[in-house]
């Protein structure tokens, strides 16, 4: 007997209303019920972070949440980062710094970084410019098997500095 719930969820600013089985993960719901296949599944047990999305602005493992838990929430996925066809500053930095190879883990890193950058912007960091080591600790939440992380760290660092500079009075 399937235990199905009707939920409302906003994804990248767009409202969705759907019936979802209680045991269905948020990741499967996003990918297969709503078509946001940019969110990838790398381990389905919360370690690799490929499925990282923002739920009400905070990074979350979409494989460790049920879809029904997102009822009434705001979810941001990789598909919402660009401005139309224009890459965001963070996306462009990933390309400039060779922060991706196969691209499978990339959406998770982008969303993780967006969550971190938003925290910085909200002044929840120490206020200073983040160090390379701090960025390493942040992106250590996720796994990449191709790049050795150097381009990812550089891209996030560069974006953090650029966004901080833009905020300077």
């Amino acid at each position: 007997m399937k235990d199905t719930h009707l939920i409302r969820v906003r994804v990248n600013g767009r409202e969705h209303e759907l019936a979802v089985e209680s045991r269905r993960t948020l990741a499967d719901m996003l990918r297969h019920d709503l078509g946001y296949t940019g969110t990838h599944l790398g381990c389905e047990h919360g370690i690799c972070g490929a499925c990282t999305v923002l739920v009400d602005g905070a990074p979350a493992r979409a494989c460790l949440m049920f879809g029904v838990q997102a009822d009434g929430q705001d979810v941001a996925t990789v598909e919402g980062l660009a401005d139309g066809e224009d890459l965001s500053d963070l996306q462009q930095a990933f390309s400039d710094r060779h922060g991706l190879q196969c691209g499978f883990c990339t959406p998770g890193f982008l969303m993780l970084a967006e969550g971190y950058l938003a925290e910085l912007q909200a002044g929840r960091g120490d206020g200073g410019e983040p160090s390379e080591q701090q960025i390493r600790e942040v992106v250590a939440a996720n796994l990449c098997r191709c790049t050795g992380y150097q381009g990812i760290v550089e891209a996030v660092l560069e974006t953090a500095r650029r966004r901080q500079a833009m905020e300077m009075p």
């Binding site: 990838h40 790398g42 381990c43 690799c48 996306q91 990933f94 196969c102 982008l110 796994l143 098997r145």
Partner: protein, 787 residues
Amino acid sequence: MTWVGAPVPRTQDRRMLLGRGKFTGDLARTGTLHAAFVRSPFAAAALGSIDTSAALALPGVAAAFTAADLGDPALLAVLERPEFVPTPLPLLAIGQVRHVGEPVAVVLAEDPYTAEDAIELVGVDWSPQPVVASLAAAVAPDAARVHQQAPGNCLVDLTMFDDERLDGVFAAAPAVVTATVGSGRLAALPMEGRACLAEWDERDQQVVMHVSTQVPHQVRSAVAQAFGVPEHRVRVIAPDVGGGFGLKCVAGREEVALAGIAMRLRRPVRWVEDRQENLTASFHGHEQRYQVRAAFGPDGRILGLAAEVDCDVGAYSAFPFTCAVEPLMAVTELPGIYKVPAYRARGRAIATHKAPTAPYRGVSRPQLVLVMERVMEKAARELGLDPLAVRRRNMISPGEFPYTSCNGITYDEGSYAESLDLAEKRVTESGWPGERDRLRAGGQLAGIGYSCFSERTAYGTPTMSQRRMRMTPGYDTASVRMDPSGEVIVTTGTCGHGQGHETTFAQIVADRLGVHPGQVRLRQGDTDLASYGWGTWGSRSIVIGGGAARRAADGVAAQLRQVAARLLEANAADIELAGGAARVRGDASASVPLGELARIVHFQAHRLPEGLRYGLEARETFDPPGTFSNACHAVLVAIDPGTGEIRLRRYLVVEDCGVVINPVIVDGQVRGGVTQGVAAALLEQVRYDPDGQPGSATLMDYLAPTAAEICPIEVVHLETPSAFSETGAKGMGEGGTIGAPAAVLSAVNDALRDARPGAEIDHIPVCPWDIHAALFAPEPLAERSAG
């Protein structure tokens, strides 16, 4: 200016960054059935009856199959040598399971959750049997046999080289060093696991498979073999592939089974591997043990080398390359860059009740480089010489190329000595020794280590045929076609899965045709589009696939020059292709755009003589003997003596892959490769208990490195072009992984020796408890081998 050598941005970045990549698991078809496999919980068991009735009764379940239901399909990989024991790989177990995770049945359901529910309801009559789960257990007297046809569990036993002078060399040698070096079992761990969507195409009477693979044609051959259908009835497409690292350069039994099921059910069927399956039931690699003796003269010159290599290859030979890949590579290439006058080597593939093995990145070379670098350092210590001086004394030096070694291999021009010189210079100038001293003064252990090596890449059939595989790989074919708008389409049998081939192939072709790389589109990973090819592995694609593409582009360029010569009333030999136009050399006014030439060839064919009409297209094959990249790695590590934690402080790679096609991509390959090699040295190990139960079935237990474990990696390039390559490029996909373990272990031992003279570790991974044992264990220091 040429496009080759330029840091051209990668074409694929954009779709990946936008979340618009198309991986196999992203593809949707109406009416798809989802597969889940019933897998063995035992490492060895006889299979009795399998009852799928309860599973079939579950609402949403459409079908279930055992091996018998599918006609007992199996894959047979063969090495045509008397020393090789073939082990058919059943797609679903036939009467017997040989490792935990072996599939015994498959259930197809309307959704994957239901399929997973259903496999719990399949009843299997298991009769557990004795298990051999380590090299030691497998070769013990009276060990249980993994395969009845393989006494002693030996699937390959080859003495490839046996110099009869060697015993005399050892007897007379001033110094003999011995080493037992072990390396742990590894998982390739691509972030995307394996996946397949198979569907029947009624119109083409063909099963169409989307597979996360490095080798579409070999998957096609596997399906054809397993189900007895002609190859043209199977089309294999590799869409975006989320990494492979060798795991996906063999045919997976699950994906092949799905093709048969799609043919049977005439419905789309899909399987997406989960990480537990990936870690326990796909393929592993690199679990090896070397016992070596090396004779040295008083000046540090190596006089002879004898080695016994055992590889724990798991339960089966993978298709098509066989389980001989590791031992053959190990015994053939062990001498590496060092001039060994007399050599003997025996390599064995030993079967165990563990998951089978595939050619994971590096294939035996991380181990054999580790072995040779340990040998050089031990000899230096024994003789009171500087370890880098001993390396220099023995390595193939400038003026000695091409060098034919005791293993019969000819090494093309490299920069072995120059790369070490440059690395040592940069290490000194960048202040590593001072940093090491400061760390030591601060109470930490610290050490600097080097590794020197070459990496044979791009083996064509001239080399591969020596292994005597029934399916001998090596060549690849490209076609290049200019369309009526002057844009270029390249097809290749290689199959990039993250390396950026869309960009690098375009750079190679663009230079030959005088167009922008953005005008060149690569079509890869589709068996219906490309000529039979061998996919992407063995650092082969840019040399072999790119070489074929360059040759084919030259064919089209010749056609363009002839057409232009006719229109411009000039000699074809005087036409140059550049900047999107054909022009007469030295005459700025005589020029015609390539788009105009392409338009005329296609739409005004009647204006051209017969030989120039009907398209601009060429197809070429390249099949080289192989070429050697080389590098020197240097690393500075710090070790916490209390916790045994090892941290990288500095990492330098001086590498030479000949002509660099795209420096950004090369650097990325090096850094990613180093990270996997560091992981092999310090973190990762697939573990099994004596009953063959996996102890590393999740990423909580299998410790892939994060950004926090890796430091910035500096990459410096030397360029020694290869004469065996169309482009002058050498392959370089594996060198990072190959060189890192030896450099890291050298650094660890440098640190340990400073703290406790005589302390030394000869195995990987080096774990904190190994550090503790090396520092504090009572004398004598007992060295264990991994696994």
